[in-house]
Subunit: 366 residues, 2 copies
Amino acid sequence: MNLHDLDTPSLVVDLDRLERNVKAMSDLVRPYGVRLRPHVKTHKTVEIARLQMKYGAAGLTVAKIGEAEVMAEAGFDDLLIANIVIGKAKLERLARLVRTVRIKSCVDSLEGAAMMSEMAVRYGVVFDVMLDVNSGLNRTGILPEQAILLGKEVAKLPGLRLCGVFTYGGYGPPVKDDGLRNQWARREAETAVFVARELENAGIAAAEVSVAGTPTSRFGAAVAGVTEVRPGTYVFNDANYVRLGFGTFDDCALRIRARVISRPAADRAVIDAGSKVLTSEKPVRDGQDVGYGHIVGLPDSKIAALWEEHGVVHLCDEGRQLKIGDVIEIIPNHVCPAVNLADCLYGVRGDKVEGIFAVAARGKVQ
Amino acid sequence: MNLHDLDTPSLVVDLDRLERNVKAMSDLVRPYGVRLRPHVKTHKTVEIARLQMKYGAAGLTVAKIGEAEVMAEAGFDDLLIANIVIGKAKLERLARLVRTVRIKSCVDSLEGAAMMSEMAVRYGVVFDVMLDVNSGLNRTGILPEQAILLGKEVAKLPGLRLCGVFTYGGYGPPVKDDGLRNQWARREAETAVFVARELENAGIAAAEVSVAGTPTSRFGAAVAGVTEVRPGTYVFNDANYVRLGFGTFDDCALRIRARVISRPAADRAVIDAGSKVLTSEKPVRDGQDVGYGHIVGLPDSKIAALWEEHGVVHLCDEGRQLKIGDVIEIIPNHVCPAVNLADCLYGVRGDKVEGIFAVAARGKVQ
């Protein structure tokens, strides 16, 4: 099938760029001897997870039980749920997974750990857990100064095995500055390493130290004591990351092809991709209204408004040549939730569609 | 099954409220003798479409070909695509649909209409079309003063049958003021009626005049010459509409049940619903940061930040009682894209889960 025969909107993955990105992250991380455990929430796709393993990933990170089930079913047997698993139904599912694959999840409270422990004992399994430490993002995670005490308590609970320390520090400073990003990433990683060493000093084995995302992995990997990094978005990259100075638009492997369905004014085009394709995510940098995605080749035209099934594009002078029926390519602001809206991705090389990848872990809200 | 046994996050529909909402809109519109053609993009669910038909809907509105195919397959035989269908692949699908159901779509340009005409002739079908008129929203739609000329040209094209005039004016003024909303809705409806009458005067039959959404339907229905209204969100309502003065939180039939997975600080809870459940849609009223949804019973607690799988809640004093494992109910800002993220809705009456409705037309990005 030819790229130009695809209906619109379509999420198209340039396979050359994808492979380049996957390989580049492996190359960035390898010199430090840390494990690469890429986060599959970005692509939710078995084929791309396989590609990541082929290029040296040691296991996968997933965001929730539903994603873990899909990846376990596809044969991946070393998973980390970068999240806290709470609730009877989910712990039952986790207990089933534990019987077939190596899988860890996070704890950040004694209450949560006690619930896990109770279920582990009831089901006769052992849950591997990572201590989730707040390194500054103020999302989940126990504060470092309280982490040692919690770690000691968790280590005593039956049915739990404390494997290490987990943190996520966010994507870093919202400016293009590698020095600042390095500082940010080091602070995140050093916080986790500190807690792991304190636990060791207290006689509690917590060998693994898992940190970082796409923009921070190469810096976090360099910190002594870190054992793995978890970048996700790097497989595709997106407009947010380019604006943050991580890569260029040419490094963006996923583009959304959308069609002009209306040209109601000289400076306005309406496309068939709205918020149910692009998501409503605003750019990272709030000060500057750059619209709902980057239009390839027309950087000064702006996707100014989204309705559910309409994108309203304010056209720059060059963009005024667009006609009804023309197809444009958009690099989304945030690629991960856009992929989550689609049922499949089209893998292309040049103009040739080489494969259709099911977004196998799409949905799975629970 | 009991409501409290559902895993989280879950989208739960209160069936009593749903039926009340569906009936209320029928009652609002019936006195004016116009047809009710509810927009199914809100629920994408066959069962709820059936309920709308049971309470007097004359047909359904859909947002795109993919939704039309699902509803046609389920037996609904009078559909309006509230959108412009452009591109060979989509027109082929439309040609297949035309053979089995009555289906209309919109045109707002001669170029688009000519493409449709060419495909209709090639496939030996007739496409029913509505003239999409811009009544002030500046999305798609031809300007009223240019519409008569376009209507005359469209009426001449082989393979097309011009059925009437279509417009969408948006949800109305972003303030609680029924007088202003009435003015807004009248201007929208009168624009469409004006164009339809001018076409008639020019000897072109364009009997149908299709207008309005949830907040404007009861006003649009009152305008002489309007033949149908297309409310969508009213089946569930949502926090945006309540803030606009359309109904109360008690009228909101869909709630998202989410669980507290972390209590990392006295004034902070983290829930298992993030942007992949709630969407990133900001409230309609930008001046006031009310967060990413309304928490039932805790109106002063705010869903202050969303990550893909985490919602960070800033707790009011009352909210501080929340414990890990507790479930909260959220009324989303904009219900339509939230439903589009889920695979199913749970229909409940009191605490009893009476049915599971597949979000049958979810996805279908093309």
